[in-house]
């Protein structure tokens, strides 16, 4: 019973939130002080990085343990709070006004759990460099990518105004996808997004482009949960709906 009171308590939420903020602040400093440890955090999914570095050198990553513990506690706290209140609400009169905060709780749970899926089952394939007309394998996907054409529009000041790459993906010498990749416009195929990250000119004068291929299986669920959260949040702002939670 004491454990249930702890898990449903708003004070637990308050303290977990505070510790989360302190741990995050410490982490933002630690990331700059230990670049050899944290610089490649985005080069692979979080679970892979954490298994490789988070468990080997625990001292500089202590903040991450705090961050993850507090996130876990906030998730359980929100879930228990919502479970407890939903039972009360459905025994009484169900109104949208009373449900909205718990819709936000459930959306928060959806975001965290979907992110967990991406952090474990996602994939990161950084730095696929291909000269124009050339081919390169795309990590362990079994695809080979060809850079058909690269175009860049440069401003007189020397920075790129726009750049795009026409690419074709092959599997077993058969084209499976073709499209134009530019900044903010990736090419999606079988759950992977192909992103153009950089470009340049090779020593023999041919343009080349560098791509990342990422897969985030939880991304769609995160988007849905985030939109649900925003919608409930917006409705909650109406004065009549804000009196109890």
């Amino acid at each position: 019973m004491a454990l249930w009171r702890f898990l449903t308590s708003l004070k637990t939420c308050a303290w977990a939130g505070l510790v989360f903020c302190v741990a995050g602040a410490a982490g933002s400093v630690a990331m700059g002080r230990f670049p050899e440890l944290f610089a490649d955090m985005d080069a692979q999914v979080f679970a892979g990085w954490f298994a490789r570095k988070g468990l080997v050198d625990p001292a500089p990553t202590l903040w991450l343990y705090g961050l993850l513990s507090c996130t876990g506690l906030l998730v359980v706290n929100a879930a228990c709070c919502t479970f407890e209140r939903l039972v009360q609400i459905f025994r009484g009169t169900v109104t949208m006004r009373r449900l909205l905060p718990h819709v936000m709780h459930l959306a928060f749970l959806g975001v965290v759990l979907s992110h967990l899926v991406s952090a474990v089952y996602g994939d990161r394939i950084p730095g696929v460099a291909i000269p124009q007309g050339g081919f390169a394998p795309v990590g362990g996907t079994g695809w080979v990518m060809r850079l058909d054409r690269f175009d860049a529009v440069m401003a007189p000041e020397g920075y790129p105004k726009d750049f795009s790459a026409t690419v074709t993906l092959f599997r077993d010498r058969t084209p499976v996808a073709r499209g134009v990749v530019r900044t903010n416009e990736p090419l999606f195929h079988e759950g992977y997004g192909i992103y153009i990250k950089n470009f340049g000119t090779s020593p023999w004068g041919a343009p080349y482009a560098v791509f990342d291929a990422n897969r985030d299986p939880g991304a769609t669920a995160i988007l849905v949960a985030s939109l649900l959260f925003s919608a409930a949040n917006l409705l909650y702002l109406f004065p009549a709906r804000r009196n109890d939670a």
């Binding site: 708003l10 004070k11 939420c13 308050a14 939130g17 505070l18 989360f20 903020c21 995050g24 602040a25 982490g27 933002s28 400093v29 990331m31 700059g32 944290f38 955090m41 985005d42 906030l74 992110h115 401003a155 920075y159 790129p160 105004k161 726009d162 750049f163 530019r182 900044t183 903010n184 416009e185 990736p186 997004g193 992103y195 990342d212 990422n214 985030d216 991304a219 995160i222 988007l223 985030s226 939109l227 959260f229 925003s230 949040n233 917006l234 909650y236 702002l237 804000r242 939670a245």
Partner: protein
């Protein structure tokens, strides 16, 4: 025209300066709509609108535009929340909070700059605009929190609560837009940089803050009183400043201006 639109910037700065001067001298206008600050907001809106047209993108790129939009959002949030006689005392600190970023912007290069390709998307204006609107409400929360801590009053307490809730709502929506943008631009809705971590800190901080009012006050430390809640509302502005300026100036982050 490129230089002429800056006249509106300087006029709005003068109006904000006059408002802060009057407020600090103890002179208050009869209503917010008859204040120099209201005139400043109109001039400021015209400045931002013309700059948007001239540059072809939302005027939120770079430190100058970020600071001036921050100032504008603080003023707008104040006008929305501090309209009653009871909350008008908040204008004394708030007028300074509106003036400082605008004065800081006055010291920075104001030339129109084109957007980098990654910023050339509607998500840029929605993400940055909503985030700054949230920052504006959090600034109003600092002013209202100070008023409550010094003088009490249920109106200041309620308005400060609204500042946290409205700010949290705008900031949350801004984060959703930022996540969608990041997914299309960088290949992931989340990357591990100090800026992202501090953004989540702001979100968690104000999410927690909006729950504090539901904890019954009790004896002992920390008491969970309204004063604690108002102190946390005021302190939230420090967290916002660290996220907006501190991370960019003190920590290395790829997500910066």
């Amino acid at each position: 025209m490129e230089d002429a639109h800056l006249i509106l910037f300087w006029l709005s700065l003068a109006a904000y300066g006059a408002e802060a001067g009057f407020r600090l001298a103890g002179v208050a206008p009869s209503s917010p709509r008859r204040s120099p600050l209201f005139a400043g907001v109109l001039l400021h809106a015209a400045f931002l609108g013309i700059r948007w047209v001239l540059s072809g993108h939302a005027p939120m790129a770079g430190l100058f535009e970020s600071l001036t939009v921050f100032s504008f959002c603080c003023a707008v949030a104040g006008l929305l929340l501090c309209r009653s006689e009871e909350t008008s005392m908040a204008w004394k600190p708030l007028s300074v909070l509106v003036l400082l970023p605008q004065a800081g912007a006055a010291l920075i290069d104001k030339r129109l700059t084109p957007l980098y390709p990654a910023l050339d998307t509607p998500w840029f204006a929605t993400h940055v605009g909503l985030s700054f609107l949230g920052y504006g409400f959090f600034a109003a929360g600092l002013a209202l929190g100070i008023v409550y801590l010094r003088s009490g009053g249920e109106a200041a307490y309620r308005a400060a609560g609204k500042s946290a809730l409205y700010g949290f709502s705008a900031f949350s929506a801004g984060m959703v837009c930022g996540g969608i943008w990041a997914y299309y631009a960088w290949g992931s809705y989340w990357i591990w940089t100090p800026k992202e971590i501090w953004s989540v800190i702001v979100w968690i901080y104000f999410a927690t803050l909006t729950h504090l009012k539901f904890i019954p006050a009790q004896g002992g430390w920390p008491g969970w009183t309204k004063r604690l809640e108002m102190g946390a509302t005021a302190a939230g502005y420090g967290v916002v400043l660290l996220t907006f300026l501190g991370v960019s100036l003190l920590l290395r982050s790829s997500h910066s201006f």
